[in-house]
Symmetry: C2
């Protein structure tokens, strides 16, 4: 499949703003309630209503249709959003969910899992952001191919309401996305700062007035319960995170097994707070590294065999592999700090910021989602 878009560059007139600028949208896909004939469709496209957020809008450009259709004064149209709710019964209340995914590599299993989610797809908008690297380009191409397949040729019930793909115009912190390299402690601050900016760009650009919930879902999450959205909404928490595990072949036991993967969901400890108090304000505390023992209570280790899936515990830090957030939490201003915020960064900083705004994160130690195993 030919890639239809060229590369994107912001004209940076002010070079000293470095590579911090954000976001060029490569394209936006709309899935229209389209009329039957292509001819009508074209005519509609030129005269049709467009939301102010929908590019490119030129409401006053004279119509150049052959029909000589004259443009009347633009009417005032009202959309009453009194029905936008955020409740434990999102399907019943037709609540819109925005699934946001920062992506560097495209995993077929991620897409397949997405398609298996049985929350009504017409209530789901997908948003992606990918870096402008070779790897990011390849992932974009693969993603577009699957979007074409699903949205154009797939069964109607699998099609999502709409899909937005953004491309970063800032540099990724490290070139390689290999797991070993990514997880090196020395790379973490720079890496997570860039990741935080990517999340913010995606969030600020895609959150709309009708969004009830935001599901952050990393591109390497390859298995979740199909009822993920409904299950998480049922808890009616401001922020809630499942426990992210990884399936692997256990050489000792000679069979498939699973192990905790995401260590960013935790309850704070006195030790960690004291460590932070001694740190410089730009330093960050990281979790899951042996040479920085924080003695925080990690949700990763709280899962118990046969434990109650509905057990919800309050958390102080959250991971972003799968993270379900009431849209109002973000609207209040909770974002992913790309800088040290109370010595925390990215999703952990987000949890702290949400708490400062009066919202409480929770975790589900026995409700699992699974990370890709490289």
């Amino acid at each position: 499949m030919a890639r239809p878009m060229g590369s994107v560059r912001l004209k940076r007139a002010n070079p000293c703003t470095l590579a911090l600028g954000v976001l060029l949208c490569l394209f936006i896909l709309y899935f229209l309630v389209s009329p039957s004939s292509p001819a009508t469709s074209n005519r509609l496209a030129s005269v049709t209503a467009q939301h102010h957020l929908s590019p490119p809008t030129s409401p006053y450009r004279k119509s150049s249709t052959k029909s000589g259709l004259q443009l009347g004064p633009p009417p005032v149209i009202r959309y009453n959003l009194n029905n936008v709710t955020i409740t434990p019964n999102p399907i019943e209340n037709q609540e819109h969910v925005l699934i946001l995914t920062p992506m560097t590599r495209f995993y077929q299993e991620y897409w397949d899992n997405l398609l298996r989610l049985n929350y009504p797809h017409e209530l789901i908008t997908l948003g992606f952001i990918l870096p402008k690297t070779k790897e990011g380009n390849a992932a974009t191409a693969a993603l577009q191919q699957m979007i074409q397949k699903t949205q154009k040729r797939g069964p109607e019930k699998e099609r999502f309401k709409s899909i937005i793909i953004l491309r970063q115009d800032f540099d990724p912190a490290i070139a390689s996305q290999d797991e070993a390299e990514r997880h090196k402690m020395s790379n973490q601050k720079a890496r997570r700062s860039v990741m935080a900016k990517a999340r913010n760009s995606l969030l600020f650009t895609t959150l709309g007035p009708a969004t009830s919930w935001v599901l952050w879902l990393d591109s390497d999450i390859v298995e979740t319960p199909p009822t993920l959205i409904q299950d998480l909404a049922t808890h009616n928490k401001d922020i809630i995170v499942p426990n992210c595990f990884q399936k692997y072949y256990n050489e000792e036991k000679k069979k498939m097994d699973e192990r905790p993967y995401d260590f960013n969901s935790w309850q704070d400890s006195e030790v960690a707070l004291q460590m932070a108090a001694k740190m410089g304000q730009d330093d960050i505390l990281l979790e899951g590294y042996a040479d920085m023992p924080t003695y925080r209570s990690l949700m990763a280790y709280m899962a118990t065999v046969g434990g109650d899936e509905n057990l919800a515990l309050p958390l102080d830090g959250v991971g972003g592999t799968a993270l379900f957030v009431k849209a109002d939490v973000h609207r209040d201003g909770a974002m992913f700090p790309p800088f040290a915020f109370y010595n925390l960064i990215e999703t952990e900083g987000f949890a702290k910021m949400a708490k400062r705004l009066g919202w409480q994160p929770y975790g589900l130690p026995n409700y699992k989602v699974y990370h890709y195993n490289e």
Copy 2:
């Protein structure tokens, strides 16, 4: 004019999330490139393309038009946004500007001044947020009336691209909006925290992928140069603020005069930094109060008679009465902290956050906008 909308309430299933939830959209006005006949318009509305952000979208609902129009598979449509730029020549580059206004009272002079802005109106989207108080309801009604007048019956060139009105569902911090009450120091933290949340709600909900610039313009700014947007963009700064003054009748001189109004734009001082260092982390430093002398250099006092309008000085804090921001600054995550952030809040906290993200605010001491005089 009858008010077409009823009141709005979020169903809060979880009462302990208090009044922190945000935003119900009362309605969104679209100004469509409409076809000539109302009949065609109605038909279009039911089958037309809608952005994922445009409510309410039910792309897969079966068409119930009498014509028996069958819905085909939703096509994939691309919008190439390679041309979204942020430059000193915004008109030439057709850059979209989002003007955001938190509003409690409607001033006719504000609206008239808005209409006088000679940046192409078809590139301007307006966003408002108003509290759900008696005063807010009255302002909403007045605002809607002017919108109807401008967008429906006004000259085409005055009409804006689109207008969004949001209503807060959290309580205003203090009931009265009288100037004396609003400016009481003891009320400032609560008031500015609520204002910060209103700004965040407005920002997160309206910023789109095609937005190049955001102009924050308070609803009591009643006079600006008509070239405000172009003038500010020319400087090509990440964040730039004009100097906000107020016209009044000078009893001594027996003639009209002007005085500084907004004291939130400043360069930091050693004294202020030391004061902050001694404060609790939830305390905030406020500017413009005699009993809290910070010795910061206030832009309010930097204006000189006959001074260079183009003089731009770096700032550490900014006010929000008129505030021009590259959309990328917000996309990186810069929002208005409703909590103490480095002992700063709201617009001043925003400046600090932007700086932490690597963006630099500037001020124009001799380029003035004027605040309403109560």
